[in-house]
Symmetry: C2
Subunit: 361 residues, 2 copies
C-alpha cells in the first residue's frame, strides 16, 4: 500500500501545463491526480497519474446510489519553502466517518497522507506564493461496482485532485433564510461530507442567488426554527461581545475551520457558546442591536462576514459596519497561522516533505 506508482508521462504533463494569470477558486485543475483502488477488501497501491477522465461502467453504484464522499482542504506556500497542509488529520478522520455512514471502506491514514503529499509536492511550483492563494485539494471516493441492486459497492476508487486557487469570494455575504427546503434530517447524512447533501442544496442555493443573495441559511428540518449552517460554511454570531454558534448535531457538518475558529477565539479570551440558535431570537437581537456581527467560515472562504440576513418576506436584517470586527480579527489570526506568518502554537500545520521519488522513475 505504501508503494507509490508514478506515471512516466507526469513530467511532460507538468512541463506542458501553463498556470493562467487569473485563477479564481477551484476553477483550474492541476495536471495530476492520485488514485487508489479498493478491491477484495484491500486498498491497493496508490498511483500518481496525469489528470484524465475517469471511466466507469454505466451501472456503477456511484451513479445509481450516489455512494460518494469527499473532502476539501488547502496547501499554502506563502512564507514557507515547502507547502504546508492545514490540519489534514481532521479531514482524514471526517472522511472515515463519512465512509462509515455510507458503507464505504475506511481509508488508512498513511494512504490519505501519501495522496495529499504526493499531489501537493508534485504541484509545489503551481502554488502561488501569495497571500490568500493556495492549492485546494479535493479527495473523493466513489463506489465503482456495476450493479443496480440497492446494496453497498464492493469496489471503490479514491482520488485526490487539486486546484491552484486564488482567494474565494471575499466580499461580505448576503444570506437568505431558507424557511421551506431543508438540508438534512435527524438520522440522515448531514453530519458527514457526502455528495448527496450538496445536490439537495443546489435548488435553494440557486433560489437565493436569483434573489440577489449569496447563500441560503439552513434551518432544522423538524421545527424549521433552529439555525444549522450554510451549505459549505458554518455559521457564527457575535452577541453582546460573545460568540454563539450552533451546537453540532447529526444535521450539521463539523467544519475544520469551525473548530479552529472556536479554539482561536477561546485562546483570545472570547467566550464561545455552542448552543441551539433560534432564528427568530437572532433576528430580534440584530434588530435590538445586541447582535453586532454574523460571519461564516469554511475551508474555501476561511472567515467571511455576513452583511445582511434576509427573510422570506424580503425583510432585510442588516449588520452594522464595525471598526474592529471579531470576524476579521479571527480571520487574520487563522490566516497568519495557515500562511506561516505567525507561530503555529496549535501544531496545525503539516509540512509536505520533499518526496523521495523522482518523476520519471
Amino acid at each position: 500500500m505504501e508503494q507509490l506508482n508514478i506515471h512516466p508521462e507526469l513530467n511532460t504533463e507538468l512541463l506542458n501545463f501553463k498556470l493562467p494569470e487569473k485563477l479564481g477558486f477551484g476553477n483550474i485543475m492541476a495536471p495530476v491526480m492520485f488514485k487508489a483502488d479498493y478491491n477484495n477488501g484491500n486498498w491497493e497501491s496508490g498511483q500518481l497519474l496525469p489528470y484524465a477522465a475517469i471511466s466507469l461502467d454505466p451501472a456503477s453504484k456511484v451513479f445509481h446510489f450516489a455512494q460518494i464522499l469527499f473532502e476539501g482542504l488547502k496547501a499554502y506556500k506563502v512564507e514557507t519553502v515547502h507547502p504546508v497542509l492545514f490540519r489534514p488529520e481532521e479531514n482524514w478522520q471526517r472522511l472515515n466517518r463519512s465512509a462509515q455512514r455510507m458503507l464505504m471502506p475506511e481509508l488508512p491514514q498513511k494512504l490519505f497522507m501519501q495522496a495529499l503529499c504526493s499531489v501537493t509536492a508534485f504541484c509545489q511550483d503551481l502554488i502561488p506564493a501569495k497571500p490568500l492563494h493556495s492549492l485546494y485539494l479535493r479527495p473523493f471516493m466513489i463506489g465503482t461496482q456495476a450493479s443496480l441492486s440497492l446494496s453497498a459497492s464492493d469496489t471503490f476508487s479514491f482520488y485526490v485532485i487539486a486546484s491552484p486557487s486564488g482567494p474565494f469570494k471575499s466580499s461580505p455575504l448576503k444570506v437568505f433564510i431558507e424557511r421551506d427546503n431543508t438540508r438534512a434530517a435527524v438520522g440522515g447524512t448531514g453530519h458527514v461530507k457526502v455528495s448527496g447533501n450538496y445536490g439537495a442544496a443546489l435548488s435553494s442555493t440557486s433560489n437565493a442567488m436569483n434573489k440577489g443573495y449569496d447563500q441560503p441559511l439552513w434551518l432544522d428540518a423538524v421545527e424549521h426554527r433552529f439555525i444549522e449552517e450554510l451549505s459549505i460554511m458554518n455559521f457564527f454570531a457575535v452577541v453582546d461581545k460573545e460568540i454563539v454558534t450552533p451546537k453540532l448535531t447529526d444535521t450539521i457538518l463539523p467544519g475544520v475551520t469551525r473548530d479552529s475558529i472556536i479554539r482561536l477565539a477561546k485562546e483570545d479570551g472570547v467566550v464561545v457558546h455552542e448552543q441551539a440558535m433560534d432564528i427568530d431570537d437572532l433576528l430580534f437581537s440584530i434588530k435590538s442591536g445586541s447582535c453586532t456581527e454574523l460571519f461564516a467560515c469554511g475551508t474555501a472562504a476561511i472567515v467571511t462576514p455576513i452583511s445582511v440576513l434576509a427573510d422570506k418576506d424580503d425583510q432585510k436584517y442588516e449588520l452594522p459596519t464595525l471598526d474592529d470586527p471579531v470576524a476579521l480579527r479571527l480571520r487574520k489570526r487563522l490566516l497568519d497561522i495557515q500562511q506561516g506568518q505567525t507561530e503555529d502554537t496549535f501544531g496545525w500545520l503539516c509540512p509536505v516533505p520533499k518526496q523521495d521519488w523522482q518523476i520519471g522513475d
Copy 2:
C-alpha cells in the same frame, strides 16, 4: 432532437451477446445504451451505442454534488409480439419533477420515449417471453460540467441502460422498523428519485440485512412515528379488510406501482385509505388481529407480501397466512395487465413499435 444516431457496431455487439441461463434481477446488462447530451441549453440528438464505460472529468459535478437522478421501469413480452412498456409517461413526469428539484433540465417526452423504445426494440430478442421476466430499463441523468463550485451543472448526459431480468425476490419480506436513521426530511428530496436518497439508505438496509431482515421500514424524520416507505417500495396494510397506505408527502416517493395498485383495488371495490400511519397503532392492530396483511410494491417487486415486521428490541410482529390474501390478488391483477394476459382497460400499456431504423444504417 428526434433524429437517432445508430452506432454501426451495434449489430455485432448483439450477435456476440450471449444471454446467460440464470438472469437474476438487474444483474445482466444488455449490450446497448442510449445517450443524449445537453449542451448550450438544448438536448442534442440521441445515440444508440454499444454498452460501454462512461468517461467523466474527475471534477464533474456528478461526483462532487451528486447531481444525478434516475428512473426504473419494465418492458414485458409475455403474451405480446412486440414488447410493452408499463405506464412510461408516469416515469417521464416523475423524472422531470426530479430534474426540477435538482436543477437539471427537463427532458422532452419525445426524447424520453425515443430512448426507451429504441433500447427496448434493440433488446427485443433478449426479453424472455416468460411470466415474471422482463427488460428492466434504467434511465438516468448526470451533471457533467467540470467545476468544484457549488452550483448546478450546465451540461448533462441522459442515458438509458437495460437489464434482461428474471423475477425479483418473491418470497415474503421480513421488514425491520428503522427507528433511528431516516431517509428523507420535510423540504428535502424524498419525493423525487435522486441517487442521494439511496446512498443515504444503504447503511440501514445493510443493518436490517445483517439482522436477518430484507429491508428497513422508514419512519418520518420529525417524530420517528409515521410510516413512510421501504427504500425501493411503497408500503400497504390491510386493516379490517380495507387498504391503508401512507398519504403522499414530500418525504415519500410516489411509486407508479403504488398508484396502479390503489386504482386496481378501488376498481375491485376495496376501500383504500391514503393517510398518516402511526407505526405503534399499526403494531397494535397486528397484535389485535385487525391488521391481517402487510405488503410492499414497486417496479421491481410488483407486489410482495410482508410476513413479519420487527422492532428495535427484536420483537417480531408476524402476519397470519391467509387463503386468499388481498396482496396476491392485486399482484395477479397487475401482472395480468403488464404481461398482456388480460384486457388493459386502464390504457397502461405502451407497445414498443417496430423501429424505422435498421441497425447498421
